[in-house]
Amino acid sequence: MSADRCRVQVQQAAFNPGQLQDLLPPSGAVVTFTGNVRDLSAAGSVHALQLEHYPGMTERSLQAIASEATARWSLRAAHILHRVGRIEAGEAIVWVGVCADHRGEAFAACEFIMDALKTRAPFWKKEHGAQDARWVEARDSDISRAERWQLTRTGDAGTGPCR
């Protein structure tokens, strides 16, 4: 059960969020998050993103985040899929699906996973606009969102039931 409960995947291919939800185990409450590439950023119009990652460390980091989520909340599943390579505007870049018996735990765990992923998982975005390309800067708001979870921290990366 452990291996199936936390599932993480890093891939180049596009994916359909609805089809990923169909793969989750039966449970009373399912919360999903899908992040799509927006066609506009603070720096201007965006045609596509180029996503760089650190093969090996990225997967390990996502696994640790999913594992920490299952240690902190009572979950039936925590799945993470993140694309790398070139991703066109409008396409999905990340998907998180969390299953639990109770909706409060599913909501909290899904939001925690996204906040942790944004600050701890080695991915880097380069925006491709009409003329130029530029690296995306990390956002302070992501750091402060992630810090919220430290206040009630009950588990630690690496000690969860999925490791």
Binding site: G35, L51, E52, H53, Y54, G56, M57, R60, S61, H82, I93, V94, M114, L117, K118, T119, R120, A121, P122, F123, W124, K125, K126, W135, V136, E137, A138, R139
Partner: protein
């Protein structure tokens, strides 16, 4: 030997993706390795003095004091921006 990797903007600034560096008495910690790399020239010095850079040893986030041993893979990279 140590394997040293650079990612994203840092990789572009240094025009370097991976280095193989012989272990040496002066390279016992991540901070020592970072100093040695910075001494390679002005571009390296400027890129590596960025206080926001993150460091990893063997695929785990590391501190300046994290010790290094032969065979370790060390990485330097900017703050992450996935999701």
């Amino acid at each position: 030997m140590l394997t040293v990797r650079f990612f994203a903007r840092l990789r572009e600034q240094l025009a370097c993706e991976v280095l193989e560096i012989p272990c040496a008495p002066g390279l016992g910690t991540v901070a020592a390795l970072r100093s040695a790399l910075a001494s390679r020239g002005p571009v390296w010095q400027q890129a590596l003095e960025d206080q926001n850079l993150l460091m990893a040893v063997n695929h785990s986030l590391a501190e300046p004091a994290t010790p290094l041993a032969a065979g370790d893979e060390v990485a330097f990279f900017p703050p992450v921006t996935g999701g």
